[in-house]
């Protein structure tokens, strides 16, 4: 299957995770591992538990049983801020910028837990170089930006925390088709800087074309775990996610 042996220790790991919302069993014995610098993608239909996976990774939802492991340490009872400080962050679904705050303030909040002024200024410059549009609009309220610009700010905001793993929840959701391609190019660009990317995406074809590995989640269970190439070639998957008969 996948070549996980030569990747060292994973940054983030799920060990037999079960998550419930009330009586509803969402995640069922899920095992995942994200290694430094890789790009993985999580596929699955509606209500398959994709968002819950992300929330459990970040500590916004507490699993009923099993362990969330960060750098070899069990972090089940640690708050989100603890995990963010250690290099995990997320670009949420629909971007969720602070619309009444300026673009600059949004970016500064991304670095909320950091105290190294020089480093923050440096990262801000880096983001401005990456997205010149964002620099132009730095003092504008982020709610006035277009969808594509908001996506850039959302990514910038996440990068401001200097993540080692960037979780992305449906990055192409709500973007114009033309922007989806640009968006994936941006994700690849971020990935090339050595940041591991864990992407939840409906657009399976696009997601697998840039990912190293992929998981397929079905009603809370991991049903496929393979390299992206193998997944793209998998007839079962092509049928259910890529709309091929």
């Amino acid at each position: 299957m996948s070549d996980t042996t030569d990747k060292g220790t994973p940054i983030l790991e799920f060990r037999n995770i079960n998550t419930h919302y009330g009586a509803v069993h969402i995640l069922k014995d899920v095992n995942l591992a994200i290694y430094p610098g890789e790009m993985v993608s999580l596929l699955g239909g509606n209500a398959s538990g994709k968002s819950t996976t992300l929330k459990t990774l970040l500590g916004m939802v507490t699993p009923t049983t099993g362990e969330v492991v960060l750098d070899g340490e069990v972090v089940n009872d640690k708050p989100t801020s603890y995990r963010v400080e250690r290099g995990i962050t997320m670009v949420p679904e629909n971007r969720r910028l602070f619309k009444r705050l300026s673009v600059l303030e949004n970016l500064q909040l991304g670095a909320y837990l950091r105290n190294d002024k020089a480093g923050i200024a440096e990262d801000l410059e880096r983001i401005y170089t990456m997205f010149p549009r964002v620099k132009e609009r730095a003092n504008q309220k982020s709610g006035t930006l277009s969808g594509g610009e908001q996506q850039m700010v959302a990514m910038g905001r996440a990068l401001m925390s200097r993540p080692r793993v960037l979780l992305m929840d449906e990055p192409s959701m709500g973007l114009a088709p033309m922007l989806v391609q640009t968006n994936f190019e941006l994700i690849q660009q971020i990935h090339q800087e050595g940041i591991a990317i864990f992407m939840v995406e409906q657009n399976a074809n696009m997601a697998l074309s840039i990912a190293d590995r992929g998981w397929v989640l079905q009603t809370g269970k991991v049903v496929l775990d393979d390299t992206a190439e193998n997944l793209l070639a998998n007839p079962e998957l092509r049928k259910s996610y890529l709309g091929e008969a």
Binding site: L58, M60, P79, T80, S81, V84, E85, T89, M90, P92, R96, F98, K99, R100, L101, E105, Q108, L109, G110, Y112, L113, R157, S161
Partner: protein
């Protein structure tokens, strides 16, 4: 903004017509009143004035009276604005109106009363040591108010986090009754008078530019302000500026605004949401604390129910300015205070209404209704997030 009430293209119902009549009627009443005022200033025996007031016509408002009203309105309005900030901030962060906020203000006014009598007994109050004693009183009252607000959040509201917003709202009414009755239990139900302030603060005025003399030989000035009202306006302005700086320019303020907009994403940024909520209550409490002392300076007495009317008026100010919007709360407070002071003589009197000054409270709440009818989001209100608000 009125389309917010009625869906586009929907047929007008009886209620819509009623609201339309209310809107037009209220605005017409105010406009005619103002026109009548201008007319009676020019000629106190014009046709409208003799119709409304009888043959001797209306009374002209002198410049001294007018500017006195403006200053009174500004000083009380500044006080309302300070209290309104607390309502607005808590609403912004938690989405409910904390009706017990007026009691925080009352407790600060009570603290001021206790401090003033203690200082008076020690002989500090009416002497050279008044200024440090006063500053100390302000600091202590602010701290007490902050503590009350924080404890209130911890004991009454935090356990309700996540419940429907109506529940903390009702709880806040309960907290309000509790605090009022606790104060009655401790200090009795009667009004408590502050120790007399020194004359230079309480009675003296600052006069700028004499413009003439009245018929009885009293000099008239372009601007003549009682020192205490000036002090109230200055202290309120400094506090508001401080708050503005805190919210707009500091990291904690930024976190506060982020939490107000989206708690989940704020925690994703690593912000401690609970701590930020406590900060919000603390800052709102501090503002109410300062307002409590300003109340003491203006009215020199306090009673367990002191918090009620100013609290409701400050809530009105917050709604008028657009609840959740801090600049709006301040502007709402000042415009409310101004309207309360000026409208009785500038709108009601030209209509020939007897004893208009006693209708000040009615003016305030009419203004509330008017704002809700014409611009439900308040003067500076923006559409709040799609998240529904209680």
């Amino acid at each position: 903004m009125t389309t917010a009430v009625r869906a586009k293209g929907a047929p007008r119902t009886g209620v819509d017509w009623f609201l339309l009549v209310m809107r037009v009627g209220l605005i017409a009443f105010i406009v005619i009143g103002l026109l009548g005022f201008v007319a009676q200033q020019i000629d106190p025996t014009n046709a409208w004035a003799t119709w409304r007031h009888g043959d001797e016509g209306a009374a002209r408002l002198s410049w001294a009276q007018f500017q006195g009203l403006v200053v009174t309105g500004l000083s009380q309005g500044a006080m309302y604005g300070l209290i309104a900030l607390g309502y607005s901030m808590v609403y912004g962060v938690l989405g409910f109106i904390n009706f017990a906020h007026g009691e925080v203000f009352m407790i600060a006014a009570f603290t001021g009363f206790i401090m003033s009598t203690k200082f008076d007994q020690a002989g500090w109050w009416d002497s050279g040591a008044f200024i440090p004693a006063m500053l100390f009183t302000i600091v202590v009252a602010t701290i007490v108010a902050t503590i009350v607000a924080v404890v209130m959040e911890r004991v009454a509201y935090r356990p309700l986090r996540g419940s429907p917003r109506l529940i903390p709202l009702i709880t806040s009414i309960g907290v309000s009754f509790f605090l009022q009755n606790a104060v009655i239990l401790l200090f009795g139900p009667g009004a408590k008078g502050y120790a007399p302030f020194p004359d230079w603060l309480d009675k003296d005025r600052i006069n700028i530019w004499q413009i003439g003399e009245s018929d009885t030989g009293v000099p008239e000035y372009l601007l003549s302000v009682e020192n205490k009202k000036l002090l109230v306006i200055v202290v309120a302005a400094i506090s508001m500026a401080g708050l503005w700086y805190f919210v707009e320019r500091t990291k904690t303020g930024k976190a506060m605004r982020a939490v107000a907009e989206d708690k989940e994403i704020a925690s994703l940024m690593g912000i401690d949401v609970d701590r930020t909520i406590v900060t919000t209550f603390a800052v709102g409490g501090a503002m109410a604390g300062i307002a409590g002392i300003l109340w003491g300076i203006l009215f020199k007495s306090v009673i367990a129910t002191t918090g009620f009317l100013p609290g409701i008026k400050a809530f009105t100010a917050a709604v008028v300015g657009g609840v959740g919007n801090l600049g709006g709360a301040m502007a709402g407070g000042v415009s409310l205070g101004g309207a309360e002071a000026l409208a009785p003589l500038m709108v009601l009197d030209p209509w020939g209404i007897e004893g208009p000054s006693q209708l000040r409270d009615a003016v305030v709440f009419t203004l509330l209704i008017l704002v809700l009818l014409v611009k439900p989001t308040g003067l500076f209100g923006e559409r709040l997030s799609s998240e529904d608000r209680a």
